[in-house]
Each structure stands twice: as C-alpha cells, then as structure tokens.
C-alpha cells in the first residue's frame, strides 16, 4: 500500500472579516518531495502555512499531515515536523544557542543532547561567533539561519519553510539548500514558500501557485512549463500579473 501523502488539504478556507484569505484550497504533497508553494503578495501562502502549523484554526476544510488528521492528532504530527516560521515565532530575548537548545527540548530531546546538537548546528550555520548576542539583535539573515538550525535539531520528516532564504547571504543560502536537499534524499518532505522563483525552480520538483486564496495551477515543473518558459513566465502568466511599463510614457 502507498504511504499517505505528506500533506493533504481538502477545501481549506480561512475568512478574515469579509475577505477569504484562503478559499477552498485542495493540496496534495507526496512524501519525499520538494514542494514549492508560490503566490503573489497577499495570495494566502502564509495563512496556509500558519494553518498547517496549527497557529491559525481554519474556518472550514480538513488538513492531514503525514497521514494523520489535524488538529485531532496534532501532538504526533508536530513531533515529526520541522518549522522555519516567519520571524514572529522566535524568542527575541534568548541567544541563538539558548533558543535552539530550547526547541530541541520542546521536541523531547534530553538537555545534554539538545545542547550538543544546538552547538553543532550553530557552528554549521556560522552563528557561534557571538554567543551572547540575543536573537532580537540578529539581522534578518541570522534570524532565518537560527530558525533553520532549530528546525533541524530533532531530524523531522516534514519541513514547513516560510521564506527560509529571505535576507540570507549567498553562502548561507547555499548551505541551507544543500542541507535541505540532503534531507530530501533521506526521505524528508519539504513544503517551501518563496518569492525567489529561481531558487524554487532549482530546488523543487513540484510546484503549486495560489492567487487570491485559490489554487490556480499545480504540478511538476515539466507539467507547468511549456516550451522555453521559465517558472517566472509561468507565474506571471497564471496570476495574470503582466503589466506594461511602456504604458507610462514618461518612464
């Protein structure tokens, strides 16, 4: 029997006031897949990922992660998930080491093991240079790197990555990509949101694009592209965002 999908979402809706941030989303992410979840600003990507993380309750619809229904089996699911969330979920008054160790212990690692792994991960991400620096004083790139280190500490099966490369320098981003690809080779599943389409094109084997809370296209890279189209061409075409700069005569 095939193992269930890593992420299975049915008719997911999230309403804010009169506006549907996510409107009847259906999504299937196979296991072992590097999945790119794309959309223009305000399309509903972060809302979707927050619902997957259990931070925002859906207005309606169902979510299954690693074959287990959410929120009914939330504890078992969360135990097997690694998160690179938006910056608001970091603890600004902890150091990078303290935070990473803390996350390890949240996933049930013994304190010495959590501390050892935290040290190794921070060294790997070159965050061990200023051990007393608080996360609140980190740059954007450093905050993403520490979030990535914390996401890896318990060796999860499914990663939910919200703009993980945002603000990260080229060297750091390359390291992160290598680590993520290595995890996929070992059977992990990646669910990635990013605005950097070149990165998505290079890393992901499947992509979904949402617009105004609705799925507009989904499939493998080969299925999405026609002829010599790049992912950027596909993206602009399907979200109908082509604008002519020439229309501004003075520009």
């Amino acid at each position: 029997m095939d193992s269930p999908a890593a992420i299975s979402v049915r008719n997911l809706r999230k309403i804010y006031g009169a506006k549907a941030a996510v409107d009847g989303l259906d999504l299937e992410v196979p296991r072992g897949c590097f999945f790119g979840f794309l959309g223009p600003n305000g399309a509903g990507k972060t809302t979707t990922i927050r619902m997957l993380m259990g931070l925002a309750p859906p207005t309606s619809g169902s979510i299954e992660l690693l074959g287990l229904p959410m929120p009914e089996r939330a504890i078992e699911v969360k135990q097997r998930i690694g998160l690179v969330p938006d910056e608001s979920l970091l603890f600004d008054h902890l150091t990078g080491l303290e935070f990473t160790e803390f996350v390890g212990r949240m996933y049930g690692l013994a304190r010495p093991l959590a501390r050892e792994r935290a040290r190794e991960l921070l060294a790997l991400f070159e965050l061990d240079g200023e051990p007393r620096k608080l996360i609140g004083d980190y740059s954007k790139g450093m905050r993403k790197r520490v979030a990535m280190a914390a996401a890896l500490i318990h060796r999860p099966e499914l990663f939910l990555l919200d703009e993980p490369f945002e603000g990260v320098d080229a060297v750091g981003a390359r390291l992160m990509k290598e680590i993520l690809l290595e995890q996929v080779r070992h059977g992990a599943t990646m669910f990635l949101t990013s605005h950097v389409l070149e990165v998505v094109e290079r890393l992901c084997d499947r992509v979904a694009i949402i617009h105004d809370g609705k799925m507009v296209v989904s499939g493998t890279m080969a299925e999405l592209r026609t002829g010599t189209e790049t992912l950027e061409d596909v993206f602009v075409r399907v979200v109908g965002a082509e604008r002519q700069a020439e229309s501004l005569g003075w520009l």
């Binding site: 969360k78 998160l83 969330p85 008054h93 902890l94 303290e98 803390f102 949240m106 608080l134 609140g136």
Partner: protein, 535 residues
C-alpha cells in the same frame, strides 16, 4: 511533558536574565544592584512579616491587617505581569503552539510562568505564611490555606493578561484599553488629591466584607475556620480558574490577522480625513508641504502618539483638576488660578517624547530618505517642528474644550495665558529637541501603545531640560507677582518668545551641521532592533 515544562521554565528564566543590559557594564551592574535592592526589599518585607505575624499577642492586629496585606498582594500580582508583558520579558505561550505540547498542558505552563512574574508577592506571602506557622496562637493547618489564595491569584493573573493581550491586538480598542489602564493606575493619587483619604482609610481599616477572597483567605490563614470563609475562598479560586482557563483558550484561538483586519479604517473615514492631511500641501510649497503632510498622516496613525495625545486632555485633567478644585485644595491657590496652563504644560511634557526629543526615532525608516533625497535637513526639521506646533495647538484646543464642557472657570485671558505660555515652552523644547534628535536618536516602535523604559540618558535629559524650558515662564509669573500686573506678565512672555526664536535659530544651525556630520551614527542608531531599516 516534565522535560518540556523544565525547558520552558528555564527559557523564561533566561529571558528574564537576558533582559539585563549587556553591552554597558555600568548599566549592567546598576541594573543588578537595582534588582538586589528591589528583591532585597521584598525579602526584608517578608522577614518583617514573618516576625510580625509570629507574635501570639498580635492576633487582633493580624486579624485587622492580614486581609489588607492579601488585597495589596492581589493588586500587585495582577498589575506587574501586565507591565512585563508589554515590555516583552514574559514568554508568549502562543508561540509554543507549534511544538508538540498538549493544549491542556499549556495552561499549566502559563500558570507556572505567572509564578515567575509575580515572585515578589510569593516571597511576601511565604514570609506571612512562615510567620503564621510560627505563631503559637494559630493552628498549624491555617497558613497552608494561603495556597488557595496563591492559586486564585495565579489563575486570575493568567486570565487578565490574556484578556489584555487580546484587547491590545485590536486597533481601536488598543488605545482605549491602554488609556483606561493608565487612568486606573492614577486613580489612587486622584482619590487622595480629591480629598477621599478618609474613605480610603476607612476601607482599609474597617472590618471588610467576608465575601472577598482576601478576607476569607485571611480569616482561614489565621485559623478562624468557618464554612462560609472556606466556601468563599474555594468559590473564588474555582471562578478564577474558569476565568483564567477561558481567557487562555480564547487567547490560543485568537487570530491576530483577523483582529487587525477588523480594525482597518473604512474607505469613507479615510476620505473624510483626507482634507485634513492635504491642508499643509495646499498652504505651503513642496517639499515643506509634503513633509508636514507625511508627518500628520504618520503621527495620527501611530498608536503610541494617539495615546499620549489623548492622555494630554484626560490624564492631565485627572491629575491637575482634583489638585486645583478638589476637597483638599485651598480656594484661589496657584494651581486653581492657573489650572489651564498647568494642564497645557503637562500635556506638552507627555507629548515631548514623540514631538520633540526624538523626532527621527518614531518614523525611523524615513530618516534614511531624508539623507538620500535632495532636501535641506533644515527643511526636514522645520517640517517636523511645524507639525509638532500644530499638534500642540490642537491639544490646547482640546484641553480648553474639555474645560468648557466640564464647566470649569474659563476666561479669554486665561486661554490667552495658556496659549502664550505653551508657545514659549514649545519654542525652547523644539530648540533642545532638534539637538537631542540628532545627538541622541533611538528607535521607537510607533505601534506599541505602552512605552518601554526610555534610556537613562533620555530620562536624565528630560529632567534637566524641562526646567530650563520653563525658566522664562517662571520669570513671567515672578514678574506678575512682583509688579501685580498682567502687562508685566505678558511682557516677559513676549521677551521669552523673542529669546526662544533666537535660541531656535541657533540650535537649528547646530542641529543641521551635527546631522550632516553624524549621518552614519544616526542611521545606525535608528536601525537597531527589529524594524523597517533593521539590517
């Protein structure tokens, strides 16, 4: 679960410890010393309470004073964690939702964290408990019932904090809540000034109602068992558990995105205010007009500014009017004769952080633009200063309107006096503020209604400069007193305006030169912490 609880308590401890300033050794040691004095003081109080409550011949005194001590503990326990949450030194349990922790256990953790944020009261209650235990006139079981009172406080504190955090997330309600909170904090002082000392004393000394949790806990802790007291304490503890749990669950399910979207301005309201924002551009040429328009838009949308602006004509009245016309005041005192001026100058003091001292810090992302755009920095400062003067003028109008509505004694000459005094003080504050904005800029979050502690340097500067700015006004009052003439008073004020204009002119030149030289330091200082230009 045990591992996770230990980890969370450890993280809370680290968070509190990391709150100590680290970069500056002197500040670190001073803060450490302050902590030592603070907690040492409570430890001393606890020991004092232990000694006092251990005396067998003080049972009548204990009977009278214990409910009051417990009431004070309750108020402190509910008040302090709210302040700490506003400063970010308390772990946010909602952030733990992403980790594999059962939701039911999260409430236990929240309650545990309430212990660490109200440690002073736990220390004091331990002292009280030990004293009662050692008292031969009190049965041994009595002091142990204080545990129920501690539980009552912890549950209640968790609930109050969650309720306030949710209220603070809603745009319109945020300012009103913060204002009510500040007004509540000023209430004891207002009651005292308004001449209610006798009532307050009576409230604390007369035999309190047995249906309050502090009375019931006090009686039981002294070994005065009654089924009514036991029932009351249990009922309050159960009710606070239900309240705490209910608010906590609502907090976990609370959607900040939805709250923000509900508070968004409607299109109609935006268009109604549009004429007001565009007024400067209609009257003044660009770039000055555009700069003032931007400042008006920004400040009137900043939660922090709106709060201090509202406080100017509400909190100011609460402070000064009882002092001027309360039962404790004398007729025709200095305060009652000049209350409008007092309230107006006090409003200036409240507005000064936003309008004068740190004019780049509020909208720090714009500071880079000022240096990059082909603009004279003097134009930027003049734009900011005109906006400040405009808001000061509106504030005085609001103060006068409130006076008229409250039917307080008001005359044209008194309004003129308040306006002239405010103009003089404003001119000096603008002069000093332009320099401090350039020499001591600091990043401020305009969204946070509660202000976190300003830097010590800034506080010290406020203490020094405000009396300096008030000097011409004091001289004017002195002239009025010496010559018994309004002409002398307004004459000195006019001289003050002329001197203020000169000082403003020179300080503007110095500020512009310093800004050019300190461009890099200013941008670096404004980039610290999270924010639009935080790197």
């Amino acid at each position: 679960m045990g591992k996770q609880v230990r980890a969370i308590v450890w993280a809370q401890w680290r968070t509190l410890r990391n709150y100590l300033p680290r970069s500056n050794k002197i500040t670190f040691w001073l803060t450490g010393l302050f902590g030592l004095v603070w907690y040492g003081g409570f430890a001393f109080l606890a020991v004092f309470a232990a000694i006092l409550f251990s005396k067998a011949d003080e049972l009548t005194f204990i009977h009278t004073v214990l409910p009051t001590v417990l009431l004070v503990c309750f108020l402190y326990w509910q008040f302090i964690p709210i302040l700490m949450a506003s400063m970010g030194s308390s772990l946010e349990i909602k952030k733990l939702l992403v980790y594999p922790i059962p939701r039911g256990k999260l409430f236990t953790l929240e309650v545990l964290l309430r212990i660490s944020t109200g440690a002073e009261m736990l220390l004091l209650l331990t002292g009280v408990g030990v004293g009662l235990l050692l008292n031969p006139g009190i049965p041994l079981w009595g002091p142990f019932l204080l545990i129920f009172f501690v539980a009552f406080n912890l549950f209640c504190s968790a609930g109050v904090r969650d309720l306030l955090v949710r209220l603070m997330a809603r745009r319109r309600i945020r300012e009103i809540t913060a204002l009510l909170f500040v007004l509540a904090a000023a209430l004891p002082q207002v009651l005292m000034l308004a001449g209610f000392q006798k009532h307050i004393r009576l409230f604390f000394t007369k035999d309190p109602s047995p249906f309050w949790p502090w009375t019931a806990a006090g009686r039981l802790a002294q070994g005065e068992f009654s089924w009514i007291a036991a029932g009351v304490l249990l009922a309050w503890t159960a009710a606070s558990y239900v309240f705490g749990r209910w608010q906590f669950e609502r907090g976990l399910n609370f959607d900040y995105g939805a709250a923000a979207s509900q508070g968004a301005s409607s299109g109609a309201k935006t268009s109604r205010l549009e004429w007001f924002y565009r007024l400067p551009s209609a009257l003044l040429p660009d770039p000055l007009g555009a700069l003032i328009e931007k400042e008006l838009r920004f400040l009137s949308r900043s939660a922090r500014f709106r709060l201090v602006f509202m406080m100017g004509f509400s909190f100011g009245f609460l402070i000064w009017v009882p002092m001027a016309f309360g039962r404790a005041s004398t007729p025709h005192s200095m305060v009652s004769d000049n209350y409008l001026t007092f309230v107006s100058v006090y409003a200036l003091l409240l507005l000064s952080d936003a309008l004068f001292w740190n004019s780049f810090g509020f909208d720090r992302s714009a500071a880079q633009v000022y240096f990059l755009a082909p603009l004279k920095l003097s134009t930027v400062l003049v734009g900011k200063n005109i906006t400040a003067a405009f808001f000061v003028l509106i504030e005085i109008c609001a103060v006068s309107t409130v006076c008229a509505l409250l039917r307080l004694p008001l005359s044209v000459i008194k309004i003129l006096e308040a306006v002239t005094v405010t103009i003089v003080v404003t001119m000096f504050l603008l002069s000093i503020g332009n320099l401090s904005s350039v020499y001591s800029p600091r990043a401020v979050n305009p969204v946070k209604s509660f202000r976190s502690a300003a830097s010590g340097r800034m506080q010290a500067m406020l203490m020094l400069t405000f009396p300096l700015a008030l000097t011409p006004v004091l001289l004017a009052y002195l002239a009025r007193y010496a010559f018994e003439s309004e002409w002398a008073f307004f004459g000195v004020l006019l001289v003050g305006i002329a001197v203020g204009a000169l000082v403003y002119w020179y300080s503007m030149g110095s500020a512009v030169t310093a800004a050019e030289q300190r461009k890099e330091q200013i941008i670096a200082a404004l980039s610290r912490g999270e924010g639009p230009i935080g790197g």
